[in-house]
Each structure stands twice: as structure tokens, then as C-alpha cells.
Amino acid sequence: MFSGFMLNAWAAATIVGVVAGVVGFFTVLRGSAFAAHAIPNGAFAGAAGAALIGANAIAGLGTFSILGALGIGALGRRARNDVASALAIVMMLGLGALFLSMTTEYAPETYSLLFGEVLGVASSELLPSAVIGIVAVAAVLALYRPLMLSSVAPDVAAARGISTQRMEVCFLLVIGLTTSAAVPVVGTLLTFSLLISPAAAARSFTSHPGVAMGLAVLISLSTVWGAIAVSFVSNLPVGFFVGSFGALSYAAGRAWHSCMHRPPRVRLG
């Protein structure tokens, strides 16, 4: 389990786990789950486009992630956020369908891009993922306070010179970066799972924001490590276990939360 090519898998999982935990904390806090699904899923079309013109898949993913983030930001000015995300994802997937129809050699790679192939990560894929992931985490930490303020009290943030619109686009771009780092390794669908479930579970255990972020990283890491280990033994796909462990950790969080808060507090006013 810890031989040669498996070392790459552990390293890739660690990178993705940390990045997804940190970025996921704000994804859940800001209620951006749909964008976190739309950008990785739509970026998949970028990989198809890259295959069509013979370019690097990561470059295609990156381009479409950024385009998707900017597209949701632009549409979101006028429409509600969920409609903006829905339109952005169908736009990108529509292009993806077109690209796929024009190339014949791409289909077998589709499954691995959708569901990931963490057990087959090449050493050459690790460095770009690590670099992009570090940029994403650094961006979140740099923007921590204005992001938090504009998520919690957008009016107060605006009164202090923080543009809510600009923060939203910045955060969408961070999701785009996370996509570029994580999708080549774990696939579009798992990138989404890792962004949502661990962070959603973490906030049931603590009300301290820093602790919640740390906990999200821990849960995300144990989810993806555990999934790889169980997948290696059982020969079922990693994605299945990432999805199940994520949902289980969320359920555990809710159970813990309701145990700690029973009986409900009586509130006045």
C-alpha cells in the first residue's frame, strides 16, 4: 500500500485534502455550494477542448475554471446566484459536448476526469497541483478577514470599502484554482464532495472559526486517506468511499450537534 506509485497517491491526496478543507470552509460559510459544483464540472469541458487542439489538459482545465468563475460572477450581478451557476455550467458543458463530438480519442479519459484516478497519479502531475494548491490556500488566508466580513455582514463590509461583488469574484477564482489543482488528481465530482462535506461537518463540532477551518482540513484529509486505503483493499473506486465518508462525517456532525444542544435553549426576544 505504500510502495512506488502509491506514494504519489498519498502525496496527491494530502495536497487535495488540505486545499479542499481550507477553501471548503469558506464555500460552506458563503453558501457557494452550487458554484463549487459548477466550476469543476464545467471545467471538464476545458480538458475536452484541450484534447481537441492537442494542448495540456491542466491548461484547458485552468482556462475553463477561470472563465467559469468570471462567467458566474458576471451573470450573478443581475440574476440570482443559483441561476447564474446553472447557466454557467450548462454553457460550459454544452461546449464540452461540442468538443467531445469533434474528437474520437477522448471518451476513455472521461471517466477518470469525472471520477478521478488518484491511484494512477504521475509524479509529473504532483508539482503543478501542489503549486496551484498553495496559491489557492495563500489567497484564502490573505483574504480571510474581508471574505469573512463580506459573508457575514455585506452592508458593513461595503461601508468599510470592501466591495461585495469583488470579494465574490475573488472567491470564485479561488474555487477555480482549487479545481485546477484537484481535478487532475481526484476528478471533478470528488473535488466537489471534498469542498462541501468536511467543512459542513466541521461546523457542527465548533463555533470557533479557526478551529472549524482546521477541523475541515483534518476531516477532509482523513476522508481522502481513508478512501484510498479502503479502495486499495476492496478494489472499489476511491470516489465511492470519498462520497460515503463525506456524508457519514456530516451525519456524525449533526448527531453530535443535536446531542450537545439538547434540551433546546429557551430564548427571549
Binding site: 440570482r80 446553472a86 450548462v90 454553457m91 458543458l93 463530438s101 465511492f240 456524508a247
Partner: protein, 291 residues
């Protein structure tokens, strides 16, 4: 004069468009899906549950793949999975505005995991590498004629649910507080909407693919709601936009067999999505011009 008309229609409708059986099925199924999505989608957009609408098309994939393993019709697998998912979303708390996307996201994450497992099992036992591609992108030209009655029944059930719940749905979509003050069972009505949504998404995702399912569910209603604030009109307009986009897309895709670069046809989904977005942008421009 008539020669001009003939050459014009000949130019728009490729040779054999009206006599080809697959085109007939595509037009009928596409039409049913467009109408059902237009009606259900109007409420989905009004209630801010676009994400749930899209997520179900992905979650259902797990049911479709499981049905494939069991050897039953994918439509039933899709529907069973989606109805179950809708129930879990409601339980986790899709009715709270701030918890809405999270409830959807958790269920979607778990559903995708299941899809990965079932597709994996499916692909190891047979050699259907294209299963995921097919579910995602669909192919409206390869539908069997036998699917038409089944689609009709599923669509009718979804529309009947919406018709029965129409007034409480409108009220609770505008203000759930107002609705519960008037004695509307808000949670039950919300669950009813989710069930109609699960049915609509299942039938569209299985026939025309997940992309078009979301495009037709969200795009036309979002455009229609930009044009009119009256729910009844919005439903009519969104069905009309959905029909034009779907039939226009089928036509363009049929014609594109003669287009470069590959001469084997551009995908329907690309055209439909483009048309839907064009309508959405147009609706925005009209609203702006009116103001």
C-alpha cells in the same frame, strides 16, 4: 415564387427532416421534456432551488447505473434514486434559505460517490466506457419509439402534481411565512415540488442527458421570469421558449451533418444550450429597454 419558398425551406430543413422516424421521436420527446421542464422549472427558479434541480440530474446517474447492473430500465432507476434524494434533501433542510445549497450539496456528494461505484461495476462487467458520457450528454436521436408512452406518463404525473399544488406552491414560493399563516402545509408543499422536480429531471436526464435537463429546467423559466412577474404567464412563456430552443436545436443538429469539420453532426445539447442562453440574454435586453 414557390421555387424560392421551396429552396428556402429546403435550406432550413435538411433533406428528409420531416420523414425521418428518429427525428419524429426526438421532436416528440424533446417537446414533452421542454413543457414539463418549463412548468416545473418556473417554480424551481422562483423557489431558488436551481441547484437541487441540477443536482438531481447528476444524482440520478447513480440510479441509472444501478438499473443497468440490475438489468431494469434506467428510467426507473433514475426516478427511484431521485425520489429518495429529494426526500433526504428535504430532511436535511432545503427549506431554510441559507441551508438550501448545503442540503443539496451533501446529497449530491454522496450520490456522486454511489454513481462512481455503480459505473465502475458496470464498466468492469461489460465494456461500456461510454456509459458516463452517454448519461451526461444524452443522445436524442437514438431513442426508441417505445419510450414515448412512458415519457408521456411520467410527464403527466409531474404536471398533475404541480396542477394540484398550484396555488399553495405560488403562495409558499412568494413567502413561506405568509403561506403558513394561511394554513398551507409549507413543508408538504415543498416536498411535493421536490417530487415533481425529481420526476421531471429523471425523464429529461434519461432521454436527453443531464446538460439539457438543467438547461431546459432553469434557462427558459429564468428568461420568462425576467419578462413577466405573473406566475401563469411565466409558465406559458417558459414552455414556449423551451419548445423553440429544443426543436430549433434538433433541427440545427440534423442540418449540421452537412457542416464542417467532421460531417457527422454537431451535438443537439450544444445548440439547445446556445439557444436557451440567447433567449435569456434577449429577455434581459428587453427588460432593460422597457425600463
Amino acid at each position: 415564387m414557390s421555387a424560392i419558398v421551396t429552396s428556402f425551406t429546403g435550406g432550413v430543413f435538411g433533406p428528409g427532416f420531416f420523414s425521418s422516424p428518429p427525428v419524429h421521436v426526438a421532436l416528440v420527446v424533446g417537446g414533452v421534456v421542454a413543457v414539463v421542464s418549463g412548468v416545473v422549472g418556473t417554480f424551481t427558479v422562483m423557489r431558488g432551488q436551481s441547484f437541487a434541480g441540477h443536482a438531481l440530474s447528476d444524482i440520478g446517474t447513480a440510479g441509472g447505473a444501478a438499473a443497468f447492473l440490475l438489468g431494469i430500465s434506467p428510467l426507473f432507476g433514475f426516478t427511484a434514486m431521485n425520489v429518495a434524494a429529494a426526500g433526504v434533501m428535504e430532511t436535511i433542510g432545503i427549506r431554510r434559505p441559507r441551508g438550501r445549497d448545503l442540503a443539496t450539496g451533501i446529497v449530491l456528494g454522496a450520490g456522486l460517490g454511489l454513481a462512481a461505484a455503480f459505473l465502475f461495476l458496470g464498466t468492469t462487467e461489460t465494456s461500456t466506457t461510454g456509459a458516463a458520457v452517454n448519461v451526461l450528454f444524452g443522445s436524442v436521436f437514438t431513442l426508441p419509439t417505445s419510450i414515448v408512452p412512458v415519457i408521456g406518463i411520467f410527464g403527466a404525473v409531474a404536471l398533475a402534481l404541480i396542477a394540484v399544488l398550484y396555488r399553495p406552491l405560488v403562495l409558499s414560493s412568494l413567502s413561506s411565512d405568509l403561506a403558513s399563516a394561511r394554513g398551507v402545509p409549507v413543508r408538504l408543499v415543498g416536498l411535493g415540488h421536490l417530487l415533481a422536480l425529481a420526476l421531471a429531471v429523471s425523464l429529461s436526464a434519461v432521454t436527453i442527458g443531464a446538460i439539457l435537463s438543467t438547461a431546459l429546467l432553469i434557462g427558459p423559466p429564468a428568461a420568462a421570469l425576467r419578462l413577466t412577474k405573473r406566475t401563469g404567464w411565466a409558465i406559458v412563456v417558459s414552455c414556449a421558449i423551451g419548445l423553440v430552443a429544443t426543436w430549433g436545436g434538433v433541427l440545427a443538429s440534423y442540418d449540421s451533418y452537412y457542416w464542417p469539420p467532421t460531417h457527422h453532426g454537431w451535438p443537439v445539447s450544444f445548440f439547445v444550450v446556445t439557444l436557451v442562453l440567447a433567449f435569456y440574454v434577449l429577455a434581459g435586453a428587453i427588460t432593460k429597454a422597457r425600463a
